[in-house]
Symmetry: D5
Subunit: 98 residues, 10 copies
C-alpha cells in the first residue's frame, strides 16, 4: 500500500551542534535501513529546500505511522501524508499476468 509523504525539516538554530550532528547521522542510517527493508521506496530532495518527497510501500496505516514516528528528526519535521491508489492510466499497474 503506497503513500506519498513530504517531510520539511526545521532544526532549531540553538540546538546543540553535537546533538544535531548525531540526529542527522541517525536519520540517514534509519532512512537507508527502511529502504533496504523495502518500505521506503523512493526519496527525492525538493530543490532549494531542507525537505524531501518520499513514497512508502507498507502493510497498512499503522505500519506507516511506526516508520514515521521513529524518524530521528521527527520532532523537527512537518509531515504531510497522502494515501495513494493505483491510477487507471498507469501502465505498470495494469500489466499483470497474461
Amino acid at each position: 500500500m503506497m503513500f506519498a509523504v513530504r517531510m520539511d525539516v526545521e532544526i532549531p538554530h540553538d540546538l546543540d551542534p553535537e546533538i544535531r550532528a548525531d540526529l542527522v547521522a541517525r536519520e540517514k542510517t534509519y532512512c537507508q535501513e527502511r529502504q533496504e527493508s523495502g518500505e521506503w521506496v523512493h526519496i527525492w530532495r525538493c530543490v532549494g529546500q531542507y525537505a524531501n518527497i518520499s513514497v512508502f510501500d507498507v502493510a497498512d496505516n499503522e505500519a506507516l505511522h511506526q516508520v514515521l514516528w521513529q524518524l530521528p528528526l521527527f520532532p523537527y519535521m512537518r509531515i504531510a501524508v497522502t494515501p495513494l491508489a493505483p491510477h487507471p492510466s498507469d501502465l505498470t499497474a495494469n500489466r499483470g499476468a497474461p
Copy 2:
C-alpha cells in the same frame, strides 16, 4: 531530471458530456504514450480525489512544460510542480559504478 507534479482535475459540470468523455479518453491515451516514451515515470491516484501525484523524468524545464501544456485536460487542472534532485540518503542514487 526529475519533477514531482500534482494535478487536480475540476471539469465544469455544465461541459458537454461528449466533449468531456472525449477529453478523458484522450487524456488516458496521452498519459500512456508519455509513459511509453519514458517521460512519465510514475502516476498514482490520490485517494478520494480527482487528482494524481506523478513523477516525470525529462530533459529540462522546457520539456516538462511541453508535456504538461499538451495534456488534454490541462485547461481544467490545477498543477503544482516541484523540481527534484537526488537525495543524499537514496541508496539507488548512490549505487553506481563499483
Copy 3:
C-alpha cells in the same frame, strides 16, 4: 484500517432539480449500503454545514478510493482524507486478549 474523511458538498445552484433530487437520494442509499457492509463506520453532520465527518474501516487505500469515487455526489464534493492509526492511549484498542 481506519480513515477520517470530511466531505463538503457544494451542488451548483443551476443543476436541474430532478437530477439533484436523484443524486441526493442515491447518495443516501449508497451511504447506508456501505454502513451495512461495515466499511462506513461513522457519519456525523457538521453543525451548520452541508458537510459530514465520517470514519471508514476498509482493507486498504485502494478500497477507500473505490468507496469514495463511487459516491453519487462525488463530483460536487471537496473531500479531505486523514489516515488513522490506533492511539496508544485508546482503551478499546489496547484491551485485547487477557
Copy 4:
C-alpha cells in the same frame, strides 16, 4: 452531544525533559479517565503526526471546554473543535426502539 476535536501537539524542544515526561504521562492517564467516564468516546492517531482526532460525548459546550482546558498538554496544543449532529443517513442514529 457529540464533538469532533483535532489536537496537534507541539512541545517546545527546550522544555525540561522531566517536565515533558511528566506531562505526557499525566496526559495519558487523564485521557483514559475521560474514556472511562464516557466523555472521550474515540481517539485515533493521525498517521505521521503528533496529533489525534477524537470524538467527545458531553452534556454541553461548557462540559467540553472543561475537559479540554484541563488536558495536561493543553498549553502545547492547537485544538480545532467541530460540533456534530446526527446525520440523516446514519443507520445507528435512526434505529431506535422497535
Copy 5:
C-alpha cells in the same frame, strides 16, 4: 448553550430576481421568528459585508443545526460556527443567586 455564528451571503448574480427577492424576504421573517423564540439572541451586520455575526442560545448542537439548515439563504451562505462557554471573567455569568 451559546454559539457564535458568522454567515457570509453570496447569491449568484444570475439567480432569478423574483426568487432572490422571495428568499431575502423569507430570510428576514425566519430570522425574526427565531429571535421571538429566544434562539437567535443577537444579530449584527458586519460593516461593508453582506454578512452577519450572530449569537444563538439553543438546547444542543442538533437544535442549532436545525435552525441554520432551514435558513432560506442557507444554500448561498458560508457559515462558521464557534461553540461558546461562559468566560470566567464575565460578570453577568458569575452573578447568580445571592
Copy 6:
C-alpha cells in the same frame, strides 16, 4: 458603536511564572472594570481555546483602541476586530419608541 473582537492568547512557555500569574490576574480585573463601565458588553470563552469572543460598545475607533491596547495580556494576544452595525432584521434594534 459596536465591535466584535476575538482575542487569542499565547503566553510564551518560558515566561516567569510569577509575571504570568500577575498578568492573568490583572487581565481579569481590567476586563471586569471595563464591563462595569459599560464598554465591554459581552465576553464568551471559545470552547477548547485560550481565546474569547467579545463585543464592545464604545464611543469610537480611538476608544476601542485604548481599551484593547491597555489589556495586560495585549503583548501575547492576536486580536481580530470586526466593526458592527445594526442588522435590518434585528428586532431589538428596530423596536424603539412606540
Copy 7:
C-alpha cells in the same frame, strides 16, 4: 472617524455589457459625490489590480456601512475594512491648538 477600506472588483464576464457600463458609470458618480460630502477622503488605484485602497472619514460604523452597501458595484466587490485610530507618531494628529 477613519477607516481604511480595500475594494477588489470582480464583475462576471457574462454580465450584460450595458448593465456593466451603467454600473461602472454610476460607481464613479457615487464615489465622487461621497468625496464631495467629505466621507470618502482618499482613493488610490492598486497598481495592476481592478482594486482600490480608500480612506473614509465617517460619523460611526453605521455610516460607513451605509456608504459601502450603496456602492453600485457592491455585489461584485470583496471589501476589507480596517478601523483606524490616530497614531502617536503622527505629526498632523498631534499638532493642535497652539
Copy 8:
C-alpha cells in the same frame, strides 16, 4: 524602475472561441510591442502553468498600471506586483562608471 509581476491566466471555458482566439492574439502583439518599447524587460513561462513571471522597467507606478490595465487578457488574469530595488550584492548594479 523595476517590478516583478506574476500573471496567472484563467479564461472562462464558456467564452466564445473566436473572442478567445482574438484576445490571445492581441495579447501576444501587445506584449511584444511593450518589449520593443523597453518596458517589458523579461517574460518567462512558469512551467506547467498558464502563467508568466515578468520584469518591467517603467518610469513610475502609474506607468506600470497603464501597461497592465491595457493587457487584452487583463479581465482574466490574477496579477501580483512586487516592486524591486537594486540589490547590494548585484554586480551589474554596482559596476558603473570606472
Copy 9:
C-alpha cells in the same frame, strides 16, 4: 509616487527592555523626521493591533526601500507594500490647473 504600506510589529518578549525602549523611541523620531521631509505622508494606527497603515510619497522604489530598511524596528516588522496609482474617480487627482 505613492505606496500604501502596512507594518505589523512583533518585538520578541525576551528582548532586553532597555534595548526595546531605545528602539521604540528611535522609531518615533525616525518616523517624524520622514514626515517632516514629506516622504511619510500618512500614518494611522490599526485598531487593536501593534500595527500601522501608512502612505508614502517617494521618488521611486529604491527611495521607498531605503526609508523602510532604516526603520529602527525593521527587524521586528512584517511589512506589506502596495504600489499606488492615481484613481480615475479621484477628484483631487483630476482637479489640476484651470
Copy 10:
C-alpha cells in the same frame, strides 16, 4: 535552464552578532561568485523586505539545489523555486539565427 527563486531571510534576533556579520559577509561573497560564474543571472531586492527575487541559469535541478543549499544564510531562509521555460511571446527567446 532558468529558475525564478524568491529568498526571504529571517535571522533569529538572538544569534551572536559576530556570527551574523560573518554569515552576511560570506553570503555576499558567495552571491557574487555565482554571478561571476554565470549561474546567478539576476538578483533584485524586494522593496521593504529582507528578501530578494533572483533568476538562475543552471545545467539542471541538481545544479540549482547545490547552489542554494550552500548559501551561507540557507538555514535562515524560506526559499520558493519556480521552474521557468521560454515564453512564446518573448522576442529575445525567438530571435535566433537568421
